[in-house]
């Protein structure tokens, strides 16, 4: 059984009470875990990764076993402790995420950018 922890917004969207437990067939990778997660909670499609390219959304991070796995290959095996269910696969909203750059054109056409 694979354990997945979702950020609060996605837990509410999915209607999942707390940590999610998933049966995942075959090798345990980001791809197979996310495939199983989206199959069980279709509302999450597109919120963690692009529906077509499967690329992780920029402000979403993947952690497990005190490691940042965000930049690992989709088909790379996840740590054995995740595969065994000893440790959860953590889906995290980046702490600076959700920030939009806002550009303001100044008189004279110079431009400034601020977070909002």
């Amino acid at each position: 059984m694979i354990r997945v922890a979702l950020p609060a917004h996605l837990r509410i969207l999915a209607g999942a009470g707390g940590e999610v437990q998933l049966d995942v067939a075959g090798e345990i990778t980001q791809r197979t875990v996310l495939d199983a997660l989206e199959a069980r909670y279709p509302a999450l499609r597109g919120t963690i990764r692009d529906q077509v390219t499967k690329q992780r959304r920029p402000f979403v991070r993947f952690f497990a076993c005190e490691q940042d796995l965000s930049h690992e290959l989709l088909d790379a095996p996840l740590p054995a402790a995740v595969a065994s269910g000893a440790e959860p696969f953590l889906i995290i909203g980046a702490i600076a995420g959700g920030c939009r750059l806002r550009y303001t054109v100044q008189p004279g056409n110079s431009m400034s950018a601020t977070g909002a």
């Binding site: 950020p7 509302a43 077509v52 402000f59 806002r102 054109v105 431009m111």
Partner: protein, 371 residues
């Protein structure tokens, strides 16, 4: 007695405000989708209990929610907005080419006749349609393929398609507006489009009278007179009497003609409302006085409406989709502010009362008048 239902989108959730036709006592229901940005919520004219909601966040992207019971319960529907074909580039803020990237849905416009058909205006600018209640979305690529796309550029809020107007007399005709490209019209249900920006003058683009590039903030049409359009542009309030073929400035005696929303009285097609703000750099009311301006003459002659609105130290803004009207005999006018107030006037703007004062920043306000 009629019921009025006000659908409010905010930076941190959606709220549904309901009252009877007196519009004095209100029930506040929400937040729905707490913590998410709700750019727009709108009901189907064909089935008022069918609501569509654009829910998004910088972390988790776009979700579309649908309600079949007037907002009591919601369920997510389809959220895949894939541009049709090769997208090409538009202009970035500095004029360099920038690839089209889907960011969010700004505006949802349900069909006038079919509850399952709904249009979505998105950033980066494109028009999508669903004919199955929001489960699947297809782009109407004729707009983006019009040919001028490489010259479109984002306004400060992004390159958004924020206005969709369906002509009640001609199902083939749709108007849309994009910041900052301008207004466009199709007369063949979205297959082909033409820019309708003749008469607009924008000093912030290299050619102030260019065919595209204008930062149109909002456009309004009265259903009894679909060939007449009113526009709040980045600067200037404009009117077209010929379905957008030409525009004339109607700013008249407004203290300033920069603003975002514009709307029309439900029963008087020449009575229009705007909320001027100080300038493009200072998005708050002049002199700290929140004033709605009303023209009963289709523009040029404007009167400030102040009764019940703060007349000192007020520095909120009213965003482009945050004003709406009901269709009761005494037309109600509503708007929401970036300070979280939603105001109602039950007498066409003469007097205002806050329905609620402390919501998150209001992004959109839509009103349904129910039997």
């Amino acid at each position: 007695m009629n019921t009025v239902r006000v659908l409010v989108g905010t930076r941190k959730g959606a709220f549904v405000l309901t009252s009877d036709g007196k519009r004095e006592r209100w029930d506040i229901n929400g937040p729905h989708f707490g913590g998410w940005e709700i750019y727009h919520v709108k009901g189907s004219p064909a089935d008022p209990d069918r609501l569509y909601c654009s829910q998004s966040s910088g972390w988790a992207g776009q979700v579309i929610q649908r309600s079949n019971d007037g907002g009591k319960t919601w369920a997510p529907v389809g959220n895949q907005f894939a541009y049709d074909g090769v997208t090409g580039t538009h202009q970035w803020y500095d004029g360099t080419p920038h690839p089209w990237e889907f960011k969010r849905v700004w505006h949802l416009e349900p069909s006038l006749t079919d509850p399952d058909t709904v249009y979505a205006g998105v950033e980066d600018a494109a028009l999508f349609r669903s004919t199955d209640g929001g489960q699947n979305w297809q782009e109407l690529p004729g707009l983006r393929d019009h040919g001028s796309g490489p010259h479109w550029q984002p306004g400060a809020g992004g390159m958004c398609l924020h206005t969709i107007i369906l002509d009640p007399d001609n199902p083939q005709r749709i108007y849309i507006a994009i910041s900052a490209a301008g207004a466009f019209r199709t007369d063949d249900a979205g297959q082909t489009w033409q820019p309708i920006n003749h008469g607009l003058y924008s000093k912030y683009i290299p050619n102030p009278t260019a065919e595209v590039g204008h930062c149109v903030h909002h456009v309004a049409m009265h259903p009894s007179r679909p060939g007449v359009l009113f526009m709040q542009k980045h600067w200037d309030v404009m009117r077209s009497g010929d379905a957008g073929e030409s525009w004339q400035k109607i700013s008249g005696n407004l203290p300033v003609d920069f603003g975002f929303p514009i709307d029309i009285h439900a029963h008087e097609p020449d009575t229009i409302y705007v909320v001027p703000i100080k300038s493009d750099a200072e998005h708050y009311p002049p002199e700290g006085k929140l004033r709605v301006y009303r023209s009963r003459t289709g523009g040029n002659e404007w009167e400030p409406l102040t009764q019940g609105l703060p007349q000192s130290d007020c520095y909120v803004n009213v965003l482009r989709d945050a004003m709406s009207v009901d269709s009761l005999d005494a037309c109600g006018v509503y708007f929401g502010t970036t300070g979280g107030q939603v105001y109602c006037s039950a007498d066409a703007g003469d007097h205002w009362d806050p329905i609620v004062r402390d919501l998150p920043a209001v992004l959109s306000v839509e009103v349904q008048t129910l039997p």
